[in-house]
Symmetry: C3
Subunit: 348 residues, 3 copies
């Protein structure tokens, strides 16, 4: 019997199955620095302890996307080692801030299985929960992936497809981590625009582009301890359909969000992930651009609001004409809620 992990195949998953994932990880200032170096993120809340302290926090918390990628990475050896495609995310909620020194672990429960009509693959739905070292839930989300069957003759399970919300309702949003008592410094944060300045339907081109190198996405994906071999093994990938290494979709999400600083600097904190899908693959040498649309707004009270944003990332074509998710240049559609201070929270 081999001691190396062959991963699970579609017929191994069943609804109710619980998987405790390996390799808890302590997130540190080292991870934060590397995340900045790999994404170029400039949101003040995640860059400056002093800024976060103005918001009544003890220190700069960890960027929610770094939490997401870390928790996601843990699930890969158990859920998606034999995955054909990562199909989507839903109902993601960031339930407690994480600080350098906190240790994250992850557990997934299978909540749906549905064999595809070809009999060779199926879709597995899991709810993944990320915990800190005290056992507090810091993140919960659903994702679904297409997984190969090892044995095409294995019988199809009774299909169960979970009922997933199209988005996290505004009245269920987690509270923003910082609290601003009329002292929010928009100039330091990088923008004069408050919650009130954004209109539903407004579209923002984030202007800048970022070319991704092979070394960069590999370092990022290893930092997240994500082991999916499609990102790392040029030899195996040479005989794949794409012929080369694929960039982990989380790299795309993080770079697109870093680009979104230019237009959304005050919407630093992601509270919830409503939906997300990777439309086309990204390869080393490609350049990412991004634009956003305001889908909804919600006043959360206490001088804070939230914007529901749809982030579209494209490759090798700028966002200035707002290419839609059906465009052949689109690589990502990411629907999320981000906290943003109301005008009354601003110092000036």
């Amino acid at each position: 019997m081999t001691k190396s992990n062959p991963g699970l195949f579609f017929e191994n998953f069943y609804v109710g199955m619980v998987l405790r994932h390996a390799t808890p990880k302590t997130l540190t200032e080292g991870d934060v620095a590397l995340y900045t170096g790999l994404t170029g993120s400039r949101y003040a809340l995640y860059s400056s302890d002093a800024f976060a302290r103005d918001g009544d926090l003890d220190a700069a918390p960890i960027d929610p996307l770094l939490i997401f990628h870390t928790v996601f990475g843990k699930t890969v050896p158990d859920i998606s080692l034999n995955a054909v495609a990562n199909l989507g995310y839903a109902d993601g909620r960031f339930l407690a801030p994480v600080y350098p020194g906190d240790t994250l672990s992850a557990v997934s429960e299978v909540i749906g299985v549905k064999e595809n009509s070809n009999g060779k693959t199926g879709v597995v739905y899991v709810r993944t929960t990320g915990f800190n070292q005290q056992g507090d839930v810091v993140l919960s989300y659903v994702r679904w992936v297409m997984v190969n069957k090892a044995d095409a003759a294995a019988p199809a399970p009774t299909p169960i497809v979970p009922d997933l919300p199209a988005f996290v309702p505004a009245d269920e949003l987690p509270s923003p981590a910082p609290y601003w008592e009329g002292n929010y410094d928009g100039t330091l944060a990088g923008s004069v625009h408050s919650f009130e300045d954004y209109e539903i339907g407004e579209r923002i081109n984030h202007v800048d582009g970022m070319t991704v190198e092979e070394a960069e996405h590999q370092i990022a994906t290893r930092l997240y301890q994500n082991t999916a071999k499609v990102h790392f093994d040029a030899i195996v990938q040479a005989s794949s359909r794409q012929g080369r290494r694929l960039i982990y979709g989380g790299v795309v999400i993080s770079i697109a969000r870093a680009l979104a600083f230019n237009g959304l600097a005050n919407a630093a904190e992601i509270l919830a992930i409503n939906a997300g899908r990777h439309i086309n693959p990204l390869f080393a040498g490609d350049t990412i651009y991004a634009w956003s649309e305001v889908l909804d707004k919600a006043d959360l009270g206490q001088g804070q609001g939230a914007l529901r944003l749809r982030l579209i990332a494209t490759k090798n074509v700028s966002g200035c004409d707002f290419p839609g998710p059906d465009s052949s240049d689109a690589i990502l559609e990411f629907d999320y809620w981000a906290a943003i201070p109301l005008r009354a929270s601003f110092a000036v």
Copy 2:
């Protein structure tokens, strides 16, 4: 109205204009590790807490060049997003040590403007000041950049060119951070040479070469939160004069200084930047070499001295024949003061 930052153009700048820059950054041990990984710096003072404690410091301070790049990076979105060229630096002073955990922010004041005779561009002079979270000044320097006009018809301002010192006078140099009470360990620092061993006019070839990859300079420049698109966007750069991404000049400064360890290991601490200019662009795949000339010396008292050094970096041609700044291979001329212990401060 767009919410993304178009940057300022030449006609937007006026003498006396003050710009508080966005995204304060807490420098951490993570930044230090990444700086080491990207530059190969080996100066003991910035590598070892134990070594720094021997010099009466609480811990290893942050390398002044990492401070410089961090402060500089904050100014880019406001000062040089529409810059044609970064022309020079002067009167840079490192006024207080920075330790992991300190948060840096930056403010710039426009101190000069001068339209070029072509009517399409102009030169903007700014004094930039970097602060820590207590509001102490940690760095002050002047730089000047050539910036595009948005509207060629905008009237030329009254030209004001600041009077800048050719170098920081020795009697105005900041005190070195460490204090050595006859316990300086040159062997651990990597050299037996004290202040007395260096002669004015002496030239030192730093021997080693360092080839720079696209991923390396991008990670470094993002770590400094420098957003200048010439470093990151291969699509836009493809239609530029150079046809490709330019490497941020700060990457060249740091690698050249890391190479300078081989010959200047005891001159670890940069006290002042007298002048600097980027002579030719560097591209990924090029190899950096460096040599130094001792321009001046000053005894600072208390067993410490300072060397005024001119660092010349070249690309793809070694420093063994001491190519001058007018050489077509030269990429950097950097004139600075570095502290170095006197013989009496050495333990052996």
Copy 3:
């Protein structure tokens, strides 16, 4: 007289010569994050403070291979700047755990010299000792390198070849750092297999492959402050026999060990390095695979055992057919002892 370091040549070494190496380094959480990002290591003991605390440690210790590369890096400017080849390692012992914040320094003693029959090179044997800031020995190992003579006419020294053990005897192994009181969590660690499950002679294919980029090995090698120019200078290397930059052998060791997680997840802690040699060079773009053989087992008492493992890394050919060290695809043979909990130490 030049102030830059020309390195030592074969005729400069003599038995009994002691070299205190430059640039002590404080290892931090920053180094750990970068090590994870560059290797993809997933051993829970080195990833999670919480996991390490379950093993009665204060925090996650530093991975022994990061200690090894750091200590090794310090020796390069003194020992192997003029080396032709790094021939082997022996008798390596990790004698005390290292934690973030500890500062490492290194001293080497020459224990053997033997001129080669060509009269142009010779082999130098050194014992290198790594210390922490309290002066405790954290690592001791022997390596031998082939070094050029500066002057072929220099007389050959009396040959002295040290008597080196083929492996560290089991009864001399350092104690494992963590202590598990029946609470070892194999699921979190990534494997259900205990000491008892491994058999002498058993071979494990680690399945996954990792393609190495130029930027990645350069960042790693600079992080270790290893200055050997063969890794960094594309211009000089263009005229070498290989025609290009060589990847530091320590990069191969660390990636192969990271791959070995898949099959050896509970054998996280390297206690001793018995032997190691770099069989063929690795270049950027090559893909590393690895497999392991269990050479021996030892019950260390207190619920802990050790496996003596032979790790074979290959390039561009997977480990599924267990290619031996004589294979033209082999790049590394690395013989070491790793601690692993006994079944009685497992919580479940």
